[in-house]
C-alpha cells in the first residue's frame, strides 16, 4: 500500500504550483473539476507516471466521501497529507446577495474539505495514515473589502474549522491554514491586465508582488516533518500587506 499527498484544486493556481513542488519527492493524488487541465498538470510534474488523478466537482457535496473511499481502495493507497487548494471566488453585494452562489462557494471552499477529511480520518478507510491537513485560506478572512463578505466568510470559516480540528486530531494529525494575499493566478488574471490595479497591489505589498511558488514553499514546509510541532495556525504569506495595513 502506497501513501499519497492529496491536492484539491490541483489543475490551476496554487494547487498546480504545490503539485509541481511536491512531485519530485511524493506520490500525488491530484483532484480537480477539469480533467483535461488535470492531465496537463500531471504531465508537467516530475515522474508523471507515479501520480493519480481524481476528477471531481467539489461544488456538489453528495458522494464525495464515498467516491474518495472507493478510489483509495481501488488504487490501494492511503493519504498521508491533504492540501485543500480548491476554491472559488466571487464578488457579492449585500443588497443583491445570491444565496445559490454563496452556497456553491462554501461547498468548494469549506464543506468539500470536511467531506474529504471524514474518510481520511476513518481507520478502516485510510488506516491511520493521515499526518497533516493544510487548507489554503485567504488574507481576506482578516481584511475587509467591499463585495468580499461571502468569500471572506468562507475563508474565515476555514480558519476556525482548522483551529478546532487541530485539537480534535492531535497528536496524529496536524492542521494548519495558509493565508495568501492577492497573487496573480488564473482566478484573477483579468485584473492583472490593468496597470492601475498592478500599481495598487505593488503599493500595498511592501515586499512587492507575490508568486504562486511562495505559497507552495509554505505548504511544503507545513506538510513536512519540519513543522512537526506546528498545528492550528494561520500562516500569512502576504509580502507584508497585513503588517502595513
Amino acid at each position: 500500500m502506497e501513501t499519497c499527498t492529496l491536492i484539491t484544486g490541483a489543475a490551476s493556481g496554487f494547487g498546480r504550483c504545490v503539485a509541481q513542488r511536491l512531485a519530485p519527492t511524493r506520490k500525488l493524488l491530484l483532484a480537480d473539476i477539469n480533467a483535461e487541465k488535470l492531465e496537463a498538470v500531471k504531465n508537467s510534474c516530475a515522474s508523471p507516471e507515479k501520480h493519480l488523478l481524481w476528477t471531481r466537482d467539489l461544488s456538489r457535496l453528495d458522494g464525495i466521501g464515498e467516491e474518495l473511499a472507493g478510489l483509495l481502495t481501488a488504487k490501494n493507497i492511503t493519504i498521508e497529507h491533504f492540501i485543500h487548494s480548491a476554491g472559488i471566488f466571487g464578488i457579492q453585494f449585500a443588497r443583491a446577495n445570491e444565496m445559490e452562489f454563496v452556497t456553491k462557494m462554501f461547498n468548494v471552499n469549506l464543506f468539500s474539505a470536511i467531506e474529504i477529511i471524514r474518510p481520511l480520518t476513518q481507520k478502516r478507510t485510510n488506516k491511520g495514515a493521515l499526518r497533516s491537513i493544510t487548507l489554503i485560506s485567504s488574507l481576506n478572512s482578516r481584511l475587509g473589502a467591499k463585495g468580499y463578505y461571502a468569500y471572506a466568510a468562507s475563508k474565515g470559516a476555514v480558519n476556525a474549522y482548522a483551529l478546532s480540528l487541530a485539537v480534535e486530531l492531535a497528536p496524529a494529525v496536524r492542521v494548519n491554514c495558509v493565508l495568501p494575499s492577492i497573487i496573480e493566478t488564473e482566478i484573477n488574471q483579468e485584473h492583472f491586465t490593468d496597470p492601475n490595479f498592478i500599481a495598487s497591489i505593488k503599493a500595498s505589498h511592501p515586499l512587492g508582488l507575490g508568486r504562486p511558488e511562495d505559497i507552495a514553499d509554505t505548504v511544503e514546509f507545513l506538510a513536512s516533518d519540519r513543522a512537526r510541532w506546528i498545528t492550528g495556525q494561520e500562516i500569512v504569506v502576504d509580502g507584508g500587506r497585513f503588517a502595513s495595513k
Binding site: 478546532s164 515586499l207 503588517a243
Partner: protein, 254 residues
C-alpha cells in the same frame, strides 16, 4: 570582498544553540553570548567550526553594543545577511513585588539589545546593505497569560510589535518575523522540568506532546531562507497546539 554571516544571539544554549547547529552546514555564523566556554563548545559542535566567529557579549548591558558589533564586522571583513535574536532571559515577577532593576535587565536582553544590534546592521556604511532577514525568538507568553509572567510576557509582546513595524520600515530589502514557541525544555527551565507536576501540565496542554529545540530551529531556518521570501511582519507559533487548545481545567471551570 566581505563574507556573509548569520548572526545568532543567545547561541550558547537553548534555541540559539539548536539554531546554530541547524544552520551551520550551509552558512557562516557569528555566535553571540556571554559565556566564553559554552559558546566555544557550541562552535565546536557545529559543522565546519573554523568558519564561525564568536562574539562574547553580555546583553543585559546596552552601552556599546552597536559600536562593538560594528568593529567586529570591520575587523573580520564580515557583513550580516540574517539576524536571529535568540538571547532571552526569564524572571518570574509578581506585581506586588516587582523589582524594576530586573525588569530593565530582562527588557535589555529580550528587546533593547536587538534594537542596538539592528541599528548598525541597517546602516549602509557598516553592513553594506547586506541584511535580508531578522527573526526574533518571541514566546506564546505574549498570547497566553500566566501568573508571575507579566514582565516576561510584556517583553515578548514588545518584540512582536517591534517586528511588525520594522517589517514595514525595512521592506522590501529585509524581512522581519517572530517565532513564538510553546514550552520547550531547554537550559532555561531545567528546574521546572525536574518537577513531575510541571511535566504533566506541559503534556496536558500541548496537544502534539513535547516540543524540541529543533522544532523551533526548523521554523527559524525556514524564515531565514528564500523559501519565505514573501513572508514578513508575521508571528509564527510553534507550540504543539497550545494556543488553540482550551485545557480541560479551563473547560471544567465554565
Amino acid at each position: 570582498m566581505s563574507e556573509n554571516y548569520t548572526l545568532i544571539t543567545g547561541a550558547s544554549s537553548g534555541f540559539g544553540k539548536s539554531i546554530a547547529q541547524k544552520l551551520a552546514p550551509g552558512r557562516r555564523l557569528i555566535l553571540a553570548g556571554r559565556s566564553d566556554q559554552k559558546l566555544e563548545a557550541v562552535r565546536k559542535s557545529c559543522e565546519a567550526p573554523e568558519k564561525h566567529i564568536l562574539w562574547l557579549r553580555d546583553f543585559t548591558r546596552l552601552d556599546g553594543i552597536g559600536a562593538e558589533l560594528t568593529s567586529l564586522l570591520a575587523e573580520k571583513n564580515a557583513v550580516v545577511e540574517n539576524f536571529v535574536h535568540s538571547a532571552g532571559i526569564i524572571s518570574i515577577q509578581y506585581a506586588r513585588a516587582i523589582e524594576m532593576a530586573s525588569v530593565t535587565q530582562l527588557f535589555n536582553v529580550n528587546v533593547f539589545s536587538a534594537m542596538e544590534i539592528i541599528k548598525p546592521l541597517v546602516q549602509k556604511k557598516v553592513n553594506h546593505g547586506a541584511l535580508r532577514s531578522i527573526t526574533f525568538i518571541s514566546s506564546i507568553a505574549a498570547r497566553v497569560g500566566a501568573s508571575g509572567y507579566s514582565v516576561y510576557s510584556a517583553s515578548k509582546g514588545a518584540v512582536n510589535s517591534l517586528s511588525l513595524s520594522l517589517a514595514v520600515e525595512l521592506a522590501p530589502a529585509v524581512r522581519v518575523n517572530a517565532v513564538l514557541p510553546g514550552i520547550v525544555g531547554t537550559e532555561m527551565n531545567t528546574t521546572h522540568f525536574a518537577n513531575p507536576e510541571f511535566v504533566e501540565f506541559v503534556k496536558a496542554t500541548h496537544p502534539l506532546g513535547f516540543g524540541k529545540p529543533e522544532d523551533v530551529a526548523d521554523a527559524v531556518e525556514f524564515l531565514t531562507s528564500d523559501r519565505s521570501r514573501w513572508i514578513t511582519g508575521q508571528e509564527i507559533v510553534v507550540d504543539g497546539g497550545r494556543c488553540v487548545f482550551a485545557p480541560p481545567r479551563a473547560v471544567a471551570a465554565n
